[in-house]
Each structure stands twice: as structure tokens, then as C-alpha cells.
């Protein structure tokens, strides 16, 4: 018998058999999340307003996020051990744990809450407020992703994890918030420590000791995970996890090719859904994401062939550093201003197919992962991040950059001023430096950013017109 949520789930790409099969889990999860019949109209409207649901692939992507949400909410009821990692994260350790045991769920629950309670149900704010109340108050530029995570736990929406994998190689806030989770809930923490101590000018080089150190930390964290979770990491876990997630990466590379088209065939909000999934899930989200991409890619191909796009042909092309994780209106704003957004920073980096070749010859899983991550740049340092943006200009024939920085994320905020100066000097393209919060749109809503983005868009259009004349 149909239930109040069937229609919404179908809108989000669920097949009827899946709904029937998942029904008890969906009901348990929705009850815990405070989702009821009264939320369906809002959610339906919100999804249709913000996502191109004429594309089946987009609906499937939304479904992939919902499945990840349901999985994490009921994980403990199903006897699973739960591991949370901080976002953004070096994903390797999580993938290895997932590949080693079916009984372990490894995920970034804050990103999951953002993409579902934010992007689908528009009910994120009470969760953020709960996070603010439980140790991460507003007004101090504390991470809103972490507010979502702590809030979700405090409200009993997501389970208290059995282990936290702390991203101590990147984020001071995240590791310290893991200490908060330990203090409040007694959760053991495996710190994966690293030091972003590259001097300006070093990238793409890096000291081998950085690989040794980060690698040793990853190996130690895996060992601790074995002890805490009572599992054994299987010898081929790394290879298996790579094999399982490879199609996702390969599909992203294929997508990049389609996004080179003029007009750009799909909204960057869709790309954001994929990028977020790839860096938040280590299990079903990835598998479902791959299926969604396999549907989406032919749909994109068809659009390119027909010359259909989300912006006008010939619209100025800009890179948006990252899409909004919880409120797609902020991301869409750029396209509404008449700009084509073919890529984000992530799609322009190693994750989206920019070839990177690790330098070393390492044997332990930790060092192999660390070496790859150093080459990938994101965990190398500020300069490395900005240099990837520079590459994106050529990759996508850009006309400008919307170089956002996140006010309450120190590692990202380090780029605030240098990225503008560097990119303008190196590429000659105009750069709009834009302060935002990528995970919470209360203080940085689409409307508060509109004037800045529209002015920049008009300037780019005028520049293009002048160049043509």
C-alpha cells in the first residue's frame, strides 16, 4: 500500500520495488528525522524548484543521497558499526574500512544531512541550531558542517558513531570538534595527522617525509579502527575499494568532456550532487551514484547533440569554486545571472580527471594514499589549490572565476585574497572573490549574494560583447 512518501521517493529516482523493499527502513529513518506527511508538499516543491528533475539521472542522484541518509540513520539498528569522517577528507582510509567489512558503515553524515535535509526537505536549520546549542555557537566562524553533525547527533537523528576518523591533516576545527564528540559522547577518535607546511613555490614538489608521516598516521588510524571496531582489514582492501569506486571517477572524467560544450548541458548543481557523493560516501552512495551517472551521461550527450543547455549559447563561462551543499539556490544564482558554469574546483582537480602522477614508490596503504593526496594538491597547501584553478581556465576555456571562500572554514579561507591576485595575474581573467558559507545559507543567502554576482556577470557579458565587436 502506498504511503505518504512514495511520491517523493519516486521523484527522487526510487523504483517502486525499491520503495516497497525499503519501506520499514524508510519509515524508521523518517520518524527519527522528524519527517512526516506534512513535509511532503514542501519537499516536492523544493526539489522541483532546485533540481532539473526532467533528467532521470538527476532524480537517481537525489535518490542515492537519500539511500545514504537512510543507511546512516538506521545503521546501528541493523547491527552495523558506524564510523564518521570529517569533510573534506582523504577518503582512502574510509574506503579501506568499507571494503574490509560489510558490518561497518563509513560516511560523512554532515554532508549527507546537508544534501538531504537541506537539498530535499529544506529542514536543515533546526539541525544547525542544535549544533550551535551543543558547543558550536554562532558568531565565531565555526564550521557549519560540524554544526550539522553535532546537531544531528544531539537530536538523535544520526547515531553516535563507534569511531571518528579525524582529518587532522587539513582542518583544526574538525579535529577539535572530534574532541568535542569524544567529550560529549565518549567516542574514540583516530587522528590522521598531517602538516600543511609547504612553503610558497614548492608545489608540485613535496618532501618525502610528508608522505612518510601522513602515511604512518593513516596506517596507525587503520590499526586503531581494527581494534575499536573488532574487524580485520583485508589485504586487498585498497585494491578492492579502488576497483569499486573507479567507475565513479571514470564517469566524472566523461562528464568533464560534456561540460566543455557550449551551451553547458546541465546545471552545476547536478555536478555538485556527484562531487559531494564521491567525497562523502564509501558504500551504497557510491554504487548508487555510479548507476545514476550511467543514466545521466547519455542524457547529457543527448542535450549536447541537440544544443540544449542551462545557459545561452555563448554565455560567459566561469568556474565556481564549489557548489552549495545544502541550498542549491545559491549555486543556481550564478546560472540565473546568465553565466555558464562548466566546472567547480573539484571537477577541475585530480578528482575530475586532471592527471596527477604520484612521485614515490611506496608499499604501505597509508603511504600510497598519502603520496596520491600530496600530488592531488588539496592537502598539499594553499598554493596547490590555486594552481588547480589556473589549470581549469584552460581546461574549460573560461572567461572568469567566481572564487568563493568559506568564511568559517580556515583551510579554505586561506585562499581568500591570494587566489584573486594569483589568478588575475596568471590567467588575465577577471576574478570575483566571494565570501560565502557553502553549508549554511542563513547568513549568505542567494539574495544577499545576488547583486555581486549579477554585476560580475554583466561585466563579463560586456567584455565578451566588446571582444566580438
Amino acid at each position: 500500500m502506498a504511503a505518504y512518501y512514495d511520491e517523493l521517493l519516486r521523484l527522487c529516482g526510487f523504483e517502486q520495488e525499491e520503495i516497497d523493499e525499503e519501506r520499514p527502513r524508510v519509515e524508521k529513518a523518517f520518524e527519527r528525522l522528524g519527517i512526516g506527511p506534512e513535509d511532503m508538499d514542501t519537499a516536492d516543491h523544493w526539489v522541483r524548484q532546485n533540481h532539473d528533475v526532467t533528467l532521470r539521472g538527476v532524480r537517481k542522484l537525489l535518490g542515492a543521497w537519500l539511500k545514504e541518509l537512510i543507511d546512516v540513520v538506521v545503521a546501528k539498528d541493523e547491527g552495523k558499526k558506524v564510523v564518521y569522517f570529517g569533510f573534506p577528507a582523504i577518503l582512502g582510509p574510509g574506503l579501506i574500512l568499507s571494503a574490509s567489512s560489510q558490518e561497518v558503515m563509513v560516511t560523512a553524515p554532515d554532508m549527507v544531512l546537508d544534501h538531504t535535509m537541506g537539498q530535499i526537505f529544506n529542514k536543515l536549520i533546526p539541525i544547525l541550531e542544535a549544533g550551535e546549542f551543543h558547543g558550536l555557537p554562532p558568531g565565531h566562524a565555526l564550521c557549519s558542517l560540524w554544526q550539522a553533525k553535532i546537531g544531528g547527533i544531539a537530536l538523535g537523528m544520526i547515531p553516535v558513531p563507534d569511531l571518528a576518523l579525524a582529518s587532522s591533516y587539513y582542518c583544526d576545527m574538525g579535529s577539535k570538534a572530534d574532541d568535542l564528540v569524544a567529550a560529549l559522547y565518549g567516542v574514540p577518535v583516530a587522528y590522521i595527522d598531517g602538516v600543511m607546511d609547504s612553503p610558497w613555490g614548492e608545489f608540485p614538489e613535496y618532501l618525502p617525509e610528508r608522505v612518510h608521516y601522513l602515511g604512518a598516521q593513516i596506517n596507525q588510524a587503520l590499526k586503531k579502527a581494527e581494534e575499536v571496531l573488532g574487524i580485520e582489514i583485508v589485504p586487498d582492501a585498497w585494491e578492492r575499494s579502488q576497483k569499486e569506486s573507479r567507475p565513479f571517477r571514470e564517469n566524472l572524467v566523461r562528464l568533464v568532456e560534456f561540460m566543455k560544450a557550449d551551451p553547458v548541458p546541465i546545471s552545476i548543481t547536478v555536478i555538485q550532487l556527484m562531487e559531494g557523493l564521491a567525497s562523502s560516501s564509501t558504500g551504497r552512495g557510491i554504487r548508487e551514484g555510479i548507476k545514476a551517472m550511467e543514466i545521466l551521461i547519455p542524457e547529457m550527450e543527448e542535450r549536447v547533440r541537440a544544443g540544449i543547455g542551462v545557459s545561452e549559447k555563448g554565455a560567459p563561462r566561469v568556474m565556481l569554486r564549489a557548489g552549495h551543499a545544502s541550498d542549491p539556490r545559491v549555486t543556481r544564482l550564478v546560472e540565473e545571472a546568465g553565466l555558464a558554469v562548466p566546472l567547480t574546483f573539484i571537477l577541475g582537480s585530480s578528482a575530475g580527471g586532471v592527471k596527477v602522477t604520484p612521485a614515490g614508490n611506496y608499499n604501505t596503504p597509508g603511504e600510497i594514499i598519502a603520496d596520491y593526496e600530496m600530488t592531488g594538491g588539496y592537502y598539499h597547501g594553499t598554493e596547490a589549490q590555486i594552481k588547480f584553478y589556473e589549470k581549469a581556465a584552460k581546461l574549460m576555456k573560461l572567461d572568469g572565476f567566481i572564487a568563493t571562500y568559506i568564511y568559517n572554514c580556515r583551510p579554505v579561507a586561506t585562499v581568500s585574497h591570494p587566489q584573486k591576485k594569483y589568478l588575475e595575474e596568471k590567467t588575465g581573467l577577471p576574478v570575483l572573490s566571494l565570501e560565502i558559507d557553502n553549508f549554511d545559507s542563513r547568513a549568505y543567502s542567494a539574495d544577499s549574494l545576488r547583486t555581486k554576482v549579477e554585476t560580475f556577470a554583466e561585466m563579463l557579458k560586456e567584455k565578451k560583447r566588446a571582444a566580438k565587436a
Partner: protein
């Protein structure tokens, strides 16, 4: 006290002295406060170590605004302001700036140095955030690279005997600070917080041998000094950074009748509890003391060691309350300030007051009210 007067005189002429030494060919090695730069290495190659510890002036933050957004710790934005504006002459004096990178706040300073002022010679090395054998080795590798850099930069080889001498000098300074600090455990201490902090700040700029003489005379003078006239609640003051020029909270505590008996800060107060062994593998000994033995700052994960230390200090120094003074946007301290009070209360019965600053004069009113209320509450 005469020792403090001597320190004042020395610091007044210090910059001229340093510049004269530079003319004679000595190199000046600047480094930001934080306690992870082993001064011994600079001294052992006959260079002059100078630490950048000035902050507290909101105007300098405006200078920094041209280089970085405001959501970073104001101490580190101040350093960016001083570096780029030339308003701190010690920055101008430095021939080489060494930056031990701890968290993202100091990383942004290092980025500014490397990207916006490439004409300044600099050297960067990393400080891990956990304590284990791998972290120790990483720190050791960093200071070994630093040693090589300093040797190349100054043209002086850091031999074991030179390093041993430098270690002994720095150990003596640490020992004297420790002795003075321990005297503050007394029921009626004779050392005022302001004086102790002035000595500590002075030591970041003073000539090492002169500083040792000053500390020795200070200790001697204390033998004939009457205890402080005040009898107010004993306050343990802690936080991330206590910069030279940032005395607002200290002043307000004292004006409200509190007596600060201990300052525990990661930046701006020299770590003095541990000495470096002057025999054996000296580089390893430096790493052991500066990295492993030192009580970690709040951005270590977990920060338990420091929180344990605070509880120990509170008990040993018989504090009546703890004032946690954090700078805005230093997230590690902000997060810890949420869960530490419950533990402090449970283990010591003491209350904790959390204060925050962005070096803004407008803060004085609210800070006064909060501090006065806190002191008054403890008195009762």
C-alpha cells in the same frame, strides 16, 4: 625593581644594537611566537634570534585586511599587518624569517610571507598535532633542515660544542623563569603578573646573556621584596596567545581585585618548564624538549595533556578561578572552552570565565563587567 628598569633600558636600545650587529655581519633570525623554534640553533650559528610577539592594536588588523579575510585569529592577522606594513621595525630587521607551522592561523601568515613578500628570506617547517614517535621524527627532520638552512645562511657551522653552549644558555634562562614562576605558589607572592609577563616578553627580544643577568638580579631583588599588597582571588589565566601590547584582560583582572598567579599561553609566553639535555644527540634532545616534553597547545589533538596540565596548575598554585582568554576565530580554543569547564568544576570545584577578543577597544566595557562579576562571585 631595578632589574625591570634594566630590561626597559635594554629593550629601548635593542633595535639600534641589533642593527649595529647586522652592520658587523651578524644575521638576524626572526620568528613568530609559539615556542617551536629552538633559539639554540640561531645562537649556535652566532645569529640573533628575535621573536615577533607584538599585537593588540586593532589598527594593524586593517593593514592585514589587504592580504587576508578577517576570519583568522587577530594575533596572526596582526603579524601579517606588521610584516606587510613595516610598522614593527623588528620585522624589517630580520634577515631570515623562520615559521614553524602549527595550525591554519600560522599557515596563513606563512602564505602571506611567501606569496606577498617573496623578497623576505623565509624558512618553513611543520609541527605535527599529535605526540607519537612519527610526529617526533617529523619535527626532528624539520629542525634538522632548519639547522642546515641556518648554517648556509650565516656561513657558520653549528658544531656540537657551539650548540651545547647555546643549550646551556637557554636552559639557564628557562631555569630562572621556572624559579620565579614557582615563587608565585606562595600564599602571598611577591611577583606581580605584569612583571613576570614583561620579563617573558622581554626575553623574546633581549640579548640572551643580558636577559639572564636581568633574571638573576630580579630573583635576587625578590629576596628583599615585600609580598604584593593585594589579597584578592588567585586567578589562573590561560589561552592561546598573550601578546606584547595585549594587556587589557590582565589589567582588568588586577583592577577588579584579582591576583594572577599563573599565565599559561601557547604563544607569547616562553615555555620554561623543561630543559634540553646538553649531552648526547643534541638535535634529538632539542626535538624531545621543544616538541614532546612541552605541554601541547590547544590545537593538539586531543588537547587532553594541556587540560590535565591546567588542572594540575590550578591545584598547585591554589587558584580560586580560571580565566580562559581566547582570541576570536581560534577555533581549537573556542571548542575546548565549551567542554572544559565541566571537567574543571568536577576535578577542582573551580569556576571558569571565558573571554574573547579581537583587539577592539569597544570590548573593554563588556569585558570589565564580566571580569568584575566573576571576581566578585569568587570572593563570595
Amino acid at each position: 625593581m631595578k632589574a625591570l628598569e634594566k630590561l626597559d633600558e635594554h629593550l629601548t636600545t635593542r633595535l639600534d644594537e641589533v642593527n649595529k650587529e647586522k652592520e658587523q655581519g651578524r644575521k638576524v633570525i626572526g620568528y613568530p611566537a609559539g615556542g617551536y623554534f629552538p633559539e639554540e640553533l640561531a645562537l649556535a650559528c652566532d645569529a640573533i634570534p628575535l621573536s615577533f610577539i607584538q599585537a593588540g592594536n586593532n589598527d594593524v588588523l586593517k593593514d592585514a585586511g589587504a592580504y587576508i579575510c578577517r576570519f583568522f585569529d587577530p594575533f596572526w592577522r596582526s603579524q601579517i599587518g606588521y610584516l606587510t606594513s613595516g610598522k614593527d621595525p623588528f620585522y624589517t630587521s630580520a634577515d631570515l624569517i623562520v615559521v614553524p607551522i602549527t595550525d591554519n592561523h600560522i599557515r596563513v601568515f606563512s602564505n602571506t610571507l611567501g606569496y606577498y613578500t617573496p623578497e623576505k628570506a623565509s624558512f618553513v617547517f611543520g609541527v605535527p598535532h599529535v605526540k607519537d614517535e612519527y610526529a617526533l621524527d617529523y619535527y626532528l627532520q624539520g629542525i634538522k633542515r632548519l639547522k642546515t638552512k641556518l648554517e648556509e645562511f650565516t656561513g657558520v657551522e653549528i658544531t656540537d660544542s657551539r650548540l651545547e653552549h647555546a643549550i646551556e644558555l637557554c636552559n639557564r634562562e628557562r631555569e630562572l623563569f621556572r624559579e620565579i614562576s614557582l615563587l608565585r605558589k606562595a600564599d602571598h607572592p611577591a611577583v606581580a603578573s605584569k612583571d613576570f609577563v614583561a620579563l617573558n616578553h622581554g626575553s623574546f627580544l633581549a640579548d640572551k646573556e643580558v636577559m639572564i643577568e636581568i633574571l638573576e638580579s630580579f630573583l635576587k631583588e625578590l629576596e628583599d621584596t615585600a609580598p604584593l599588597p593585594k589579597d584578592g582571588p588567585r586567578i589562573l589565566l590561560t589561552g592561546s596567545t598573550l601578546a606584547q601590547g595585549d594587556s587589557k584582560v590582565m589589567d582588568l583582572i588586577e583592577e577588579s581585585g584579582g591576583v594572577i598567579i599563573m599565565e599559561e599561553f601557547a604563544e607569547g609566553i616562553r615555555p620554561y618548564w623543561n630543559e634540553v639535555k646538553p649531552q648526547g644527540d643534541l638535535m634529538t634532545n632539542l626535538a624531545e624538549t621543544y616538541f614532546m616534553d612541552r605541554v601541547c597547545p590547544g590545537w593538539f589533538r586531543p588537547g587532553t595533556e594541556r587540560l590535565d596540565f591546567l588542572i594540575r596548575l590550578a591545584k598547585d598554585y591554589r587558584a580560586a578561578g580560571l580565566v580562559w582568554y581566547q582570541l576570536l576565530y581560534r577555533e581549537s580554543y573556542k571548542v575546548e572552552s565549551y567542554f572544559f569547564p565541566a571537567r574543571l568544576k568536577k576535578e577542582t570545584g573551580l569556576p571558569m570565565l571565558t573571554l574573547e577578543s579581537e583587539y577592539d577597544a569597544m570590548e573593554t566595557g563588556p569585558l570589565t563587567t564580566r571580569i568584575e562579576t566573576f571576581i566578585e562571585t569568587i570572593r563570595r
